[in-house]
């Protein structure tokens, strides 16, 4: 059963669309292909979890865009939220 979704294929987080418990298999489709990972902690519905390992300081991507930086090393399946996401205001005028 699908219990998560990825917004854009290049994102490194997925969104839980069902409540997910630690140890659950997380299933989502990306480019029509079913992918799985294991949740490392309980994930509240609609919260995010890491789709891959994200080293400290690397951008966290959702909607195909940077939403912040990893405040610490984040492992696949870990909850991604305010506690491990560092705010980062980018100069976006260069991106147009």
């Amino acid at each position: 059963m699908l219990n998560a979704m990825i917004v854009e294929p290049q994102d490194n987080v997925v969104v839980a669309i069902e409540p997910i418990a630690k140890g659950d298999t997380v299933t989502y489709t990306c480019n029509g292909e079913e992918k799985t990972l294991t949740a490392m902690e309980d994930i509240t519905i609609y919260h995010k979890l890491a789709a891959c390992d994200i080293p400290k300081g690397e951008p966290i991507c959702k909607y195909g865009e940077h939403i912040g930086l990893a405040a610490c090393d984040i492992k696949t399946g870990q909850h991604v939220h305010c506690h491990n996401l560092e705010n980062h205001r980018e100069n976006l005028e260069d991106k147009v």
Binding site: Y46, K62, I67, G68, C82, L85, L92, E93, K95, V96
Partner: protein
């Protein structure tokens, strides 16, 4: 596609037929409330401002007042002022007259001789106006007459995944019908402004998009504050939004996929048949919705994740959520469930056709949940303390 609305003498078309009791300042707000309560068909709002304001704030207040009187959902307006406030009656009347030639009456409490005399005069004016308004017959108009204001409030991650993309698709359909869709909430462009800027119709509009975002961030920094202090809100974060960029990237989906054809300052009058436009408003819902209604929006389409009862005194507010738990929990307040965007079975396109039909029905007179429950809260934006 057509709808049935009320033709106004200034050429615009309303979807409701109200008489507005307009308090020019906080000192006239209680009087306006008493008058509106006495007259069936009259509406008012609690104006907390109108005096002791710096120029920029007074301009916001004047534009909301003039825009409210000019909103085509209003048949006519009775302005009530105290008499000594900064928003003087002649200034308010001039600002209204610059936007519309609709019926307008004035009551100044200090000149009338106090509360009872002012209330009597205003009630008589309002009663007469409601009677005239009741004679206006609805006529059929194309959807291109509609200006739709889009807003998101109490957002959670489903707003960006379901409800806002659905509103964006609605916006595309309204634009295709030849109408106007307003994307608002400048604080929630922060981190996503480059995506909107890429869709600007001209280089000048692109520069204006960056300018309103920069101006907003700087205005807060000037007083030693930071937009991220209160945004995302505790409810946004409990829902799963981690930061402002994530909220913004979800928010701007409401603007759909068409070019951005104009950027309006807060509460300025929006042209009809202009496609997608941006208005520079705060993320605070009642003051952002108020600005779009002042701009001439006849209908507001509002997405929420956490759920909200919010409405508006003049415009029907259609509320949709992409959160199936919220929809089940607060269905008394919500007009549409957008969660099938995530879970199926309907497609985004099918749901957008349904939402467009709902907008048409609401324009024709169908009550929204907020109207049925009597929600009319609103606010006016401000940049500074009282002086």
């Amino acid at each position: 596609m057509n709808f049935y609305g009320y033709k106004r003498p200034d050429g615009r078309v309303g979807v409701r037929n109200k008489v507005l009791i307009l308090p020019a300042s906080i000192c006239a707000s209680d009087t306006a409330r008493v008058v509106a309560r006495q007259v069936t068909g009259a509406v008012t709002f609690n104006n907390q401002l109108g005096c002791s304001q710096v120029g920029a704030d007074q301009q916001f207040t004047m534009d909301v007042m003039a825009g409210y009187a000019a909103n085509p959902n209003v048949y006519g307006t009775v302005v009530i002022s105290l008499g000594c406030e900064n928003c003087q009656m002649d200034l308010v009347v001039k600002a209204i007259r610059e936007r519309t030639n609709k019926p307008l009456k004035q009551v100044i409490i200090q000149d009338a001789g106090g509360t009872l005399k002012a209330v009597e005069m205003a009630v008589r004016y309002a009663k007469e106006m409601v009677s005239e308004a009741s004679l206006v017959q609805k006529e059929e108009f194309p959807m291109s007459e509609l200006i739709i204001g889009t807003e998101c409030g109490g957002s959670d991650p489903t707003s960006g995944l379901a409800a806002n993309p659905l509103i964006g698709r609605l916006s595309d359909l309204i634009v295709a019908e030849g109408g106007t869709s307003i994307l608002s909430e400048t604080t929630e462009f922060i981190g996503a402004e480059h995506i909107l800027a890429r869709r600007a119709a001209t280089p000048e509009i692109r520069d204006r998009i960056f300018e309103i975002v920069r101006r907003y961030e700087k205005a807060l920094q000037l007083v030693g504050e930071e937009v991220r202090e209160g945004n995302p809100s505790p409810g946004n974060m409990a829902g799963g939004l981690s930061c402002l960029e994530e909220k913004s990237l979800g928010c701007i989906h409401k603007g759909g996929h068409t070019p951005v054809n104009a950027v309006y300052d807060y509460a300025k009058q929006v042209q009809a048949r202009q496609g997608l436009v941006i208005m520079d408003t705060p993320g605070n819902d009642p003051s952002s919705v108020a600005a779009m209604v002042a701009g001439g929006a006849q209908v507001i389409v509002f997405s929420t994740g956490r759920g909200t009862p919010t409405g508006n005194p003049l415009a029907p507010v259609i509320k949709i959520t992409g959160n199936r738990i919220t929809y089940a929990n607060m269905s008394d307040n919500l007009d549409m469930d957008a969660s099938p965007v995530i879970y199926g079975p309907q497609s985004l396109e099918e749901l957008a056709d349904e939402l467009l039909k709902l907008v048409q029905e609401v324009a024709n007179g169908r009550q929204t949940k907020a109207e049925a429950l009597g929600y009319t809260e609103m606010a006016i934006a401000r940049v500074c303390n009282f002086v």
